[in-house]
Amino acid sequence: MVVKFLRNKVVEVEPRKDGTLGVSWRLTDDLLKAEVNLVVQLPAMEIIEATADLGRFVPKGLEDASEIMEDVEGVTIGAGLRKIVRGLLGGPEGSSLLSEAVLECCNAVILHFTRPGLEIGEALENDEERLEAVRAMVKSSPRLVRSCISFQDDSPIMKGLNL
């Protein structure tokens, strides 16, 4: 059956020569075209540049998207991020598009840092070693506790961890 709607979205993280991370978020669907670009300063994880460009049928209130996006410059990727970003980009109808784009960019930055740890775990010899590696990861990242089924109290991964 022919689809009547198709959305294609991509987010990319690219370490840059100056030590910052470039994050590119793009969306295209039948009605909307959107692009958000962030530059994240390390190790503070501070958003130092934020731009946006929308096209096709631009939601009302987002005609000056890049100007709106400047509000997130200075925000640090860390505790309270969702509330801060939604607060800063809230207001005009449709602004959730930009706040969710920024949050997805920030999530991608976190996953950029998660990837090497997972690769180390994959290289381990046996299941027991891999389980211990996951447990070590949870211990060092308290935000993971009860974040999904793997890290709920009744998960075999959490057994004996008392977190």
Partner: protein, 140 residues
């Protein structure tokens, strides 16, 4: 070089006059998952959902597949539906499944608008598309 890349692809088919079927795929360097869900157009209620985990990080992850059934009966028209999906499907199941369901939900009105605009332009190629979308209202 790119160190992390995630792609989401959401398609919407109108399988009959009352139901839209979403197919959502999310692929990144770490995960690869797919959701299919049927939504009643009149009230946004999720009628049916299934998911497949193709690439994940640990042996507990697949236990999140049956948790998806919690979404059946939830409405994409209810205020805070996305937070409810993240809580029930994400926290109690898999955050990445929840991300796909939420993206499908965000596409609900866009898919209806897109279908209606497409049909309208078939009848009237000179249609003022911006004006059409500005005056567009979801069916009740």
């Amino acid at each position: 070089m790119i160190s992390f890349n995630r792609s989401q692809l959401i398609g919407a088919e109108f399988i009959d006059d009352e139901t839209v079927r979403f197919n959502g795929n999310q692929i990144d360097h770490i995960y690869n998952m797919e959701i299919n869900m049927d939504v009643r157009i009149a009230d946004g209620v999720i009628l049916k959902i299934e998911g497949e985990m193709k690439r994940y990080t640990n042996f507990v992850c697949p236990r999140a597949v049956p948790v998806l059934q919690t979404a059946v009966g939830m409405s994409l028209r209810q205020e805070g539906w996305d937070k409810a999906i993240m809580k029930e499907i994400g926290r109690k199941g898999c955050e990445h499944f929840a991300e796909i369901v939420i993206e499908c939900g965000r596409c609900f009105d866009q898919a209806l608008k897109s279908r209606d605009l497409y049909l309208a332009t078939c009848h009237n190629p000179g249609l003022d598309q911006e004006a059409f979308l500005e005056s567009w209202q979801p069916q009740s």
